[in-house]
Symmetry: C2
Subunit: 266 residues, 2 copies
Amino acid sequence: MVKEVTSFSNPLVKHARSLREKKQRRAEGLFLAEGLRILTEAREAGMLPERIFFSDGSHRLVQALIEAVEAAGGEAVETSEDIIHKISGKENPQAVIGVFRQFDTGLAQLDRNAAPLWIAAQALRDPGNLGTILRTGDAVGAGGLILIDDCVDPFSVEAVRASMGALFTQKIALARWEEFVAWLRGGPGQLVGTSLNTEQDYQAPRYAAPTFLLVGNESQGLPAAYEAECDLLVKIPMLGKADSLNAAVATAVMAYEVLNQRRRKG
Amino acid sequence: MVKEVTSFSNPLVKHARSLREKKQRRAEGLFLAEGLRILTEAREAGMLPERIFFSDGSHRLVQALIEAVEAAGGEAVETSEDIIHKISGKENPQAVIGVFRQFDTGLAQLDRNAAPLWIAAQALRDPGNLGTILRTGDAVGAGGLILIDDCVDPFSVEAVRASMGALFTQKIALARWEEFVAWLRGGPGQLVGTSLNTEQDYQAPRYAAPTFLLVGNESQGLPAAYEAECDLLVKIPMLGKADSLNAAVATAVMAYEVLNQRRRKG
């Protein structure tokens, strides 16, 4: 049964809109994802929203989403474009918004042997970078993203948007550094940090699976103690005036090197 | 002579703030750059603002900037943190803001033989992507960025910020597609597009200098006619569910491949 909502002050609208705030997301364990493409990707990965808002149910894929949500016991809410806009806060909102339950983000859920590559980011601050790193992780066949120390919320609207759906296909774990190191050293894994404090070129070493790429904070890089824990420190060559790359770019350059080595081995 | 400004309604403050709007930037041929790091990078590249706002002149590098600006006939304005915040519009504004004159963005100013690599982006929409591509261009030793068709303004506050100063070290040109192709074909240059419509792996070809990497719009990719004009179409492998990378990430993966080939040749 599709519910119809026409008022901005409807509690469902207010509730969805409140999930743009981290505090509210955390309190409820919910988050928002927007857009037909991202929600369809989620559905194909077996993830359905508990509630879906839509303004135009005529599209085949919107219909498929509504049916899947209702079949799983969720709720479909038909509403106006204006209300979708209000929930989204975006200038050109897409016509579908889902309210999803947050996933388990414990380290224990990760099976490190399920993928040859994992990405770990420390104190990442920018939600666009976080989402972009997830998207790159999906592309290179990474298992997931481990967010170390105080990172931006992976369930923020901006991060979900920048991930283009990879939030639903990549595993995500949150951990303090000590907790991560203890978990890492409890099994196989090569911890590789990018750093300015080494002369080792990033194309020189042969990376061993599972490789854990460790990326530091956007402006500070990795703390010295974290670099010291790495099995390998490598440097991406930079010929220009600046001494650093954007964090998501540096991650991608490293991740494609790991993938390319694996491709060459056949 | 440092001028002091304490009022939000001061015309210099209003003027600087107005440069956050593209229309105003275009009308005046000016733009804003913020932060000590970016302004110092600009100064080292020989680019000085016509006017500099600062709230704390005690820092050695701020002092160096003020002196350089005044020596070049520019104006230094001491003001409060609150007013800097108002101009910047950023939560944590940095303590220095410069008002710069826009550069020549004609194709004619580019010396294609000055660098082995150039980046061309078509209908790029996101200022963060634009700035990040400039930053990557600086790192890989590219000569500059050619913005084709309707791209986001490279002089926008967000693009300048994301470039981390590379706006001042990379050449920037704006051109319609036809104009770009005519210019390109008037000299040496290999036009390389990334595309889903090819089986050619991006690591297979040997790139020839000057290489022009062509990146398409974030959601549409390159138009078919533009792909047809390319000397080479290549594909970055993607193993996951998604069929595309973030535009700045794709550019970086390509640009590092070109750089790495050049490094191997010695």
